[in-house]
């Protein structure tokens, strides 16, 4: 064990392996956080389309488009989506894009599909009277949604949304399929440089675990803060 530790120490500290790890951590967090933000925006839009009263042809068409979108992104593995996006779609569209940005976009679109369902259930969990009351004082559908319904929906779905963030941060470990050097890839490289895998991989697991614990704590604090509305002040 002592020897394995020495080998790891040499690679990690002496040969600056930690720099790659820090860069990888940065990449992982970037993909997860920005992906989540894109996902929330996309998901909210899709959910809004889905809950809109379908009175005319335009909303129906939008609704079908959203169905196809959600169907595709939930129906195929994220790895496949990454491969198709980075090696097929972006070159075909002649888009020059860095691997990490491609990963952010694709992870964002992927989580958008999941968040749309979460958000839809959240919006539907808000009493219909809230929207009615907002419409009755003369606010438009979108303003009523943004100011009244969605804030309450987000409060309801916060635990699920935190869950989605956790899933996302763990899923980013496949980003190396499209040459992104993320946390997993960084440790994998350290391990394969001298075929000593135990310490790097255990450490990798520990880092993911800590990240997830931090997120869990953050969500809990946020929840408590938002619950003030129910307690009064």
């Amino acid at each position: 064990m002592q020897q394995k530790w020495d080998v790891f120490y040499e690679k990690f500290i002496t040969y600056d392996g930690w720099v790659t790890v820090v860069d990888g951590l940065k990449a992982t967090l970037q993909i997860a956080v920005l992906g989540l933000l894109i996902g929330i925006v996309l998901g909210t839009l899709i959910a809004a389309v889905k809950v809109m009263p379908k009175t005319n042809i335009v909303t129906k068409i939008f609704s079908v488009i959203c169905d196809i979108y959600v169907g595709f992104f939930r129906g195929t593995p994220i790895v496949v989506q990454l491969l198709i996006g980075y090696f097929v779609l972006f070159p075909a569209l002649d888009v020059q894009i860095e691997a990490i940005n491609a990963a952010i976009v694709i992870f964002g679109m992927n989580s958008g599909a999941y968040i749309s369902e979460i958000m839809r259930s959240g919006i539907q969990s808000v009493d219909g009277g809230q929207l009615e009351a907002a419409r009755a004082v003369g606010l438009s559908f979108s303003v009523s949604m943004i100011k009244v319904v969605i804030p309450q929906a987000i409060k309801n779905i916060l635990p699920t949304l935190g869950n989605e963030f956790i899933v996302l941060i763990k899923e980013t470990s496949v980003a190396s399929f499209i040459t992104v050097v993320d946390l997993t890839k960084a440790f994998k490289d350290i391990g394969s440089s001298n075929y000593e895998y135990i310490i790097p991989y255990l450490m990798l697991a520990a880092i993911y675990l800590v990240l997830v614990m931090i997120i869990t704590l953050g969500v809990k604090l946020l929840e408590r803060r938002l619950a003030r509305v129910d307690r009064g002040r």
Binding site: Q130, R135, A136, L139, K147, V229
Partner: protein, 273 residues
């Protein structure tokens, strides 16, 4: 003020409102009574198009609200509505509940004026007669004014000390009174009440009815769907009795309650009075 022409509302096979023609004049207080399922709530909700009529027209200030080309939001700002379940915005404080819509509407009007000013600024380059600049209210002033107005209304109902609380901490009566001043904050021309006291404890009914009476005495035009016959008799100028989607009898309360003609109304009154 509101003119309903051939209003029809159908859910699937069920006809809820059957060709209703009715006029509500300015300053009039109309109470709508009837057994449950008679369509009175639907009738009320059609008046500001919360329910889209299947066919027919609702004219408010000369505009047909059932027409999809009419901007319903502009008209709704002049039609206050109070719900059975209060429907205060749960994520806003009491003060914000009252001031939210006035602030948002004033800000929207400001944006529209700003856009017009910019367009006019451009077109004035080619005009001989320059278009005047529209006055722009300061954003802060909008907020301050709406907040001041909201506080004035809350003081009026004696709930100014609850301004910072969230609705979940209030009693039903307090919620409903706040819902009424929320509607009043938009300076509506008509107020619609959808069974305002049906979800309240018996103890709290009085305070809400008192407030509605006060508003009525100020000359507001009102349409009230209610089960409180005593209240209808006291406040209304005209009482409508609805059954099976039709208004089958109406008249001044004294006459309608004192001397009902239609057998269905006689039967209804014998049960509730």
């Amino acid at each position: 003020m509101i003119e309903v022409v051939n209003l029809k509302k159908v859910y699937g096979k069920l006809t809820v409102l059957d060709n209703i023609c009715e006029t509500i004049n300015e300053g009039e207080k109309v109470a709508v009574i009837g057994p449950s399922g008679s369509g009175k709530s639907t009738f009320l909700r059609c008046l500001n198009c919360l329910e889209d009529p299947t066919s027919g027209s609702i004219f408010f200030e000369g505009k047909d609200l059932a027409d999809i080309r009419v901007d319903i939001n502009l008209s709704r700002r002049h039609i206050g509505m109070v719900f059975q379940q209060f429907n205060l915005f749960n994520n806003k404080t009491v003060l914000q509940n009252v001031s939210l819509a006035p602030i948002l509407v004033a800000k929207q009007n400001r944006r529209i004026a700003l856009r017009k000013n910019i367009a006019n600024g451009f077109f004035n380059l080619f005009r001989k007669k320059k278009a005047a600049k529209l006055p722009l209210q300061d954003k802060k002033a909008i907020k301050e004014e709406a907040t001041k107005n909201a506080m004035r209304l809350l003081e009026r109902i004696g709930l100014a000390d609850k301004a910072g609380c969230y609705p979940s901490t209030l009693s039903g009566g307090q919620k409903q009174r706040i819902a009424i001043v929320r509607a009043l904050a938009m300076n509506p021309k008509v107020m619609l009440f959808d069974e305002p006291t049906s979800a309240l404890d018996p103890e709290m009914v009085g305070e809400v009815l008192d407030l509605i009476k006060q508003v009525a005495d100020e000359g507001m035009t009102m349409v009230i769907v209610t089960h409180e016959m005593g209240f209808a008799r006291e406040v209304a100028d005209r009482v409508m009795f609805m059954d099976k989607g039709q208004i089958i009898e109406q008249g001044p309360p004294a006459e309608l309650f004192g001397n009902p003609k239609h057998p269905r109304l006689v039967e209804f009154l014998s049960k509730v009075l």
